[in-house]
């Protein structure tokens, strides 16, 4: 899932249901029963949409979709939704307006850097002529898709070629599906990809033809594992585009395919693309059933399980996701995403020693970065290995850039609070807020009244800030202010018993004669 542009979010015509039933839409993850144990906002930081903020950051799931949070606060909603859409996943960044435009620019930007002009000018090609030569057409299509990013031309070529081979070739249908997806014609993409899958199933037992080489042609950004930070603000494992993982998956699938050709029915790449389309259409159930269908036929493929686990995570079904991550680990012992998610789950369920073991594994694998060192340090501290905690933090600080440093300082302040040194904790928190003025949790912990106001404004998901402000207002006797703040706190975390209690007291004050 890539980051969606502003226009794609706000002017989305592909929503199936305006008000989806709980548990069937990515916009409304299932809450209630799931808000216990490690997925409760009282234990683990959650965003306003109910998804955990810490863990593994994937593009597209950072910020909540606008319009799902406040819901009907009056005339301000429309403007609020646009502003929310413009806000990017990380504070201080903005979303791109559209995603297809971005690809065009990426394409032209890379070409502009080359001397001598473009290699192939797709605009001037006679696509019909090339469609008749299947092998050349395939390579050309891949070039246009992956290097030129000119989806319209690729679509034309693929359409011509599909026609030329009588609508039987799964490869062209898969490319058609990809082109439609990039252009935003999701229903057509779904159709093409599903039809491609059916063709693949019919071609059971035959070796995949040019699918494997063309998948290797694409060298996309690698999964740059850069560590996961600790409690409070777990930041990114930046994930490459889904295609990259799919490419790796396809390569591995095709390599395993040679050992057992009868069993491998579909290309994992196509399955994952179709699942991506389903998720874009906000149909997580369809994506899950697709994964569930394809997984038994590809028992050695961790990519499908990983995709399914991500969907479960996005829907707030943490337990299911964990089970799948463990299966992924048993298949692929170096899957960074699975290790990170399992580690953060164990950390928040009160088993920091297991989390520590996972983080150590990541370090041994060679993944390193400020976030990972910070997480390891926190896990050491909470697991009782206090002698190793602070050196990890030292390394984290050394490796931290401006983006990760505030979180490292914030987590160091947690260590300081753990040993009871309030002044040191305050220094760390001040460092965190001076490096990043929008760090809501740090403002909350500094807990001065004016600072709480900033905290509330900057971090609407941090329910503690709202609750603290409400409590202070109540003690002052300003019930109006307290009522508004406790409403905001309950909007962020409806199950917070102290906020409910405060609201009950305020209501009693109002109802008394």
């Amino acid at each position: 899932m890539r980051v969606q542009g502003v226009a794609d979010l706000l002017l989305d015509e592909n929503n199936v249901a305006q008000v989806a039933r709980p548990g069937t839409s990515l916009a409304r993850p299932a809450t209630g029963a799931a808000a216990s144990g490690s997925s409760s906002p009282a234990v683990r930081p959650m965003s306003t949409a109910g998804r955990p903020l810490t863990g593994f950051a994937r593009p597209g799931t950072g910020a909540a979709r606008p319009g799902t949070t406040s819901g009907g606060r009056g005339p301000g909603t429309a403007a609020g939704a646009v502003q929310a859409a413009m806000r990017g996943a990380k504070p201080g960044t903005a979303r791109p307006v559209t995603t297809s435009g971005r690809f065009v620019r990426l394409g032209t930007a890379s070409l502009a850097a080359e001397p001598g002009g473009p290699f192939i000018n797709a605009e001037r090609l006679d696509l019909r002529k090339y469609a008749a030569r299947p092998n050349l057409a395939r390579v050309l299509c891949d070039y246009i898709v992956y290097v030129d990013h000119n989806m319209r031309k690729a679509l034309e070529l693929a359409a011509a070629a599909t026609q030329a081979c009588g609508y039987e070739d799964w490869w062209w249908k898969a490319r058609l599906g990809k082109a439609y997806y990039q252009l935003g014609l999701l229903r057509d993409a779904e159709q093409q990809l599903a039809s491609s899958l059916r063709n693949q199933a019919r071609a059971r037992g035959r070796r995949p033809r040019l699918g494997a080489p063309s998948a290797i042609l694409f060298v996309g950004p690698d999964a740059r594992g850069s560590g996961v930070a600790g409690e409070g603000r777990m930041t990114d494992y930046a994930e490459g585009e889904g295609g990259c993982a799919a490419a790796a998956g396809a390569a591995s699938a095709s390599s395993r395919c040679r050992t057992d050709p009868a069993a491998a029915a579909e290309m994992v790449a196509t399955v994952m693309e179709l699942a991506k389309v389903h998720l874009r259409l906000d149909q997580p159930g369809a994506a899950l059933s697709l994964y569930g269908d394809a997984a038994p036929r590809q028992p050695w493929e961790p990519g499908l399980l990983l995709g399914a686990a991500r969907v479960h995570d996005a829907m707030g079904q943490g337990e299911e996701a964990l089970r799948l991550y463990q299966q992924v680990l048993s298949l692929d012992a170096s899957s960074v995403e699975a290790i990170a998610c399992l580690a953060s789950h164990h950390f928040y369920s009160g088993q920091p020693e297991v989390a520590l073991r996972y983080f150590r594994r990541l370090l041994q694998m060679g993944v390193s970065g400020a976030e990972l060192w910070c997480n390891t340090g926190l896990a050491c501290f909470y697991a009782g290995q206090i002698d190793m905690a602070l050196p990890c933090f030292e390394r984290a600080l050394a490796a931290a850039d401006d983006g990760a440093a505030p979180d490292v300082w914030y987590n160091l302040s947690q260590v300081a609070i753990g040993i009871g040194d309030a002044s040191w904790a305050q220094q760390c928190l001040r460092l965190a807020v001076s490096l990043e003025p929008g760090h809501a949790e740090a403002w909350n912990n500094l807990a001065a009244r004016s600072l709480l106001r900033t905290g509330c404004a900057r971090g609407p998901h941090v329910f503690e800030a709202h609750y603290n402000a409400a409590l202070l207002a109540w003690r002052r006797g300003d019930y109006q202010d307290a009522w508004e703040r406790v409403g905001a706190a309950l909007a962020a975390f409806p199950g917070h018993t102290e906020s409910q209690e405060l609201r009950r007291l305020l209501r009693a004050e109002l109802m008394a004669l």
Binding site: G92, A109, Q351, G384, I386, E394, L412, S434, A512, L513
Partner: protein, 602 residues
């Protein structure tokens, strides 16, 4: 019509008893007090009725034994339901306030008369045809006002000064008569001429104050039975309770409450032990008996929302989500309270007309629950369809069934439930033991073997771990302090403590590009105002003058910039805050600009 739940209904029109034999679920309610007590008879979610409990009533309109439901709807119509269909609709002259029926004294068979109260009149219908209109008697106005009018009529006082004295009387708190109020209004509207014209027009009209009806009920005269002769009881806006005579033509008894009654409930009969309970708008509960002096009313702690009387107690629901029971000789002692989990919407009395006369309380809550209490025990609870809040409840006979609960929900739905004869209302107190959560074992966080191994390691090398940790702690504290000083004084961060000031700033981007707007918000967290600052943009060398920064206010500065090379990717812009006269930077913010939208895409 729409059926409910899993019960089979014939598509026919009338509410047949035979359909209920198909239902195998009998709600005996005996050992398990929380089993539903009611059988669903019929429901219509789009009946289009909108009325409160006071405007709903079931009565034997035509004397044929087939009781009908009469609803005085808010759109000034009287709707009559027979069985499962609306039988007829009649227009009312005015918005209805209350609806009930009473049986005038006379030879049997006695047909009940339907009474609709609106404004200051009670409209009585016999067999759904208008029968009589009772008007509240005028209240006498005060002596001073009478004198004024006498003087006005005789001409010894001119209208202007009359208006002035009337206004003075009103400001002193004396209620004026209708004529006096109109005089003041016409004087305000049309000046002296209007006042004089009004005085001329209204000469000779009766002088008095018209009150209006707030609530209404019916009380039996001698025998507490259906069909026995009964009289109407009215509550008026000026704080009185009036009991009419059996024919409904004149006032028999009057009680003075002092404030307008909001709810009315009675028990007993007129001739033997009538007890009236009334709640007034100022939050008091009055208990009255015929012929006795009134006792001190009970002050409730919140506004009342419902009132029900059993033989010797009054049950009041208040806005703080509690039902209190007041009993005792004078009706003032609080016997028990029933806290509710949600705000109370309606309350109604459940008096079974079967073997034993058992009186229970029905409470409808805002979360859609409808609970039945017998004394202090909760007998049953059920939820309305879609948890819709209940607007009005009535319990009584309907369509040959003795114990029916008719519910109107918000949205216009009508729901009819029947209580079977075998229902046991006298369940003992539900849970005397510990609550069921006690069986859930404690969710103690589990520890793994890994943990146990690590504790072993600690036990073995505790001394070393301790020493290492303390040493690292000192180093870490030093590093933190150094970093803090550096960040705060060298102006690289987004907060500054230089010069004793306490400032912070953050930046965000607006716009689609290539023209952007940077919004910089600056806050002064310190105690004194800070001035003489400017913000410099490193990219474009623009300079913004920062106004005087008053503590605790947030300032927003806007600067427009333009991306010169939209196709070249995104860049960064650094904003630095410096003293206007020059010097070391105080703080800076780095903004990562987004990609500009190319003009041809948009």
């Amino acid at each position: 019509m729409l059926g409910r739940g899993d019960h089979q209904h014939s598509g026919g029109a009338t509410l047949q008893r035979s359909t209920f034999s198909l239902q195998t679920r009998t709600a005996s309610g005996g050992g398990d007090p929380l089993r539903p007590l009611w059988l669903d008879a019929w429901s219509d979610p789009v009946a289009g009725l909108s009325a409160f409990s006071g405007c709903m009533h079931t009565c034997n309109l035509f004397g044929d034994g087939d009781w009908r439901l009469v609803v005085a709807d808010a759109d000034k119509k009287l709707k009559v339901w027979k069985g499962t269909q609306k039988a007829s609709e009649h227009a009312l002259l005015d918005a209805p306030v209350a609806l009930t029926s009473f049986t005038p004294d006379g030879p049997p068979p006695r047909v009940p008369v339907l009474a609709v109260a609106s404004g200051c009149h009670v409209f009585m219908f016999k067999g759904l045809k208008p029968f009589y209109k009772f008007a509240l008697p005028l209240l006498p106005c005060s002596g001073e006002e009478e004198q004024l009018w006498q003087q006005l009529d005789s001409g010894s006082l001119n209208p202007t000064s009359a208006c002035a004295s009337l206004a003075a009387l009103r400001d002193a708190g004396m209620p004026l008569s209708g004529r006096g109020a109109e005089l003041l209004a016409s004087a305000a509207a049309r000046g002296e001429g209007g006042a004089a014209a009004f005085v001329a027009d209204s000469r000779g009209q009766p002088l008095g104050r018209q009150s209006s009806i707030t609530c209404m009920d019916a009380v039996c005269q001698s025998v507490d039975e259906t069909g026995a002769p009964s009289c109407l009881v009215l509550g008026t806006e000026d704080g009185r309770l009036l009991i009419l005579n059996s024919a409904g033509t004149a006032v028999q008894h009057t009680f003075v409450l002092g404030c307008a009654p909001s709810f009315l409930a009675l028990s007993g009969t007129l001739e033997a032990g009538l007890k009236l309970s009334a709640t007034t708008r100022d939050g008091r509960l009055h208990t009255l008996r015929v012929g006795e002096a009134g006792v001190q009313p009970v002050q409730l702690e919140a506004q009342p929302v419902g009132l029900v009387r059993t033989s010797n107690a009054a049950l009041v629901g208040v806005m703080s989500d509690v039902v209190h029971c007041y009993g005792g000789r004078a009706g003032c002692t609080r016997q028990y309270s029933l806290p509710q989990p949600a705000p109370i919407l309606c309350m109604q009395l459940l008096a079974t007309h079967t073997s034993r006369l058992v009186k229970c309380l029905i409470v409808a809550l805002a979360n859609g629950d409808v609970r039945v209490y017998h004394e202090r025990a909760l007998v049953s609870t059920h939820t309305t369809a879609a948890a819709a809040p209940v607007m009005g409840l009535v319990f009584g006979r309907y369509a040959r069934e003795d114990n029916t609960l008719v519910t109107l929900t918000r949205g216009g739905g009508l729901d009819i439930k029947i209580m079977p004869r075998t229902a046991n209302l006298e369940a003992t107190s539900a849970h005397s033991g510990p609550p069921p959560e006690q069986d859930v074992p404690l969710p103690v966080p589990t520890k793994t073997r890994l943990y146990v191994e690590q504790t072993q390691r600690e036990r073995e090398s505790a001394v070393d771990m301790h020493r290492l940790f303390q040493r690292d702690l000192v180093k870490a504290r030093l590093a933190t302090a150094r970093a803090l000083v550096r960040v705060l004084t060298d102006g690289r961060g987004a907060a500054s403590h230089a010069g004793g000031a306490n400032l912070s700033m953050s930046a965000s981007v607006e716009g689609l590009g290539p023209r952007f707007r940077l919004v910089l918000s600056v806050t002064n967290e310190g105690g004194t105002a800070v001035g003489g600052l400017a913000v410099v943009l490193r990219a474009s060398k623009q300079q913004l003058v920062v106004p005087l920064l008053v503590p605790l206010l947030q300032y927003e500065l806007r600067v427009d910039i333009r991306c010169l090379q939209p196709a070249g990717g995104a860049g960064e812009v650094r904003l630095v805050m410096v003293p206007a006269k020059g010097g070391a930077p105080l703080m800076s913010a780095l903004v990562r600009m987004p990609l500009s939208e190319p003009d041809d895409v948009m």
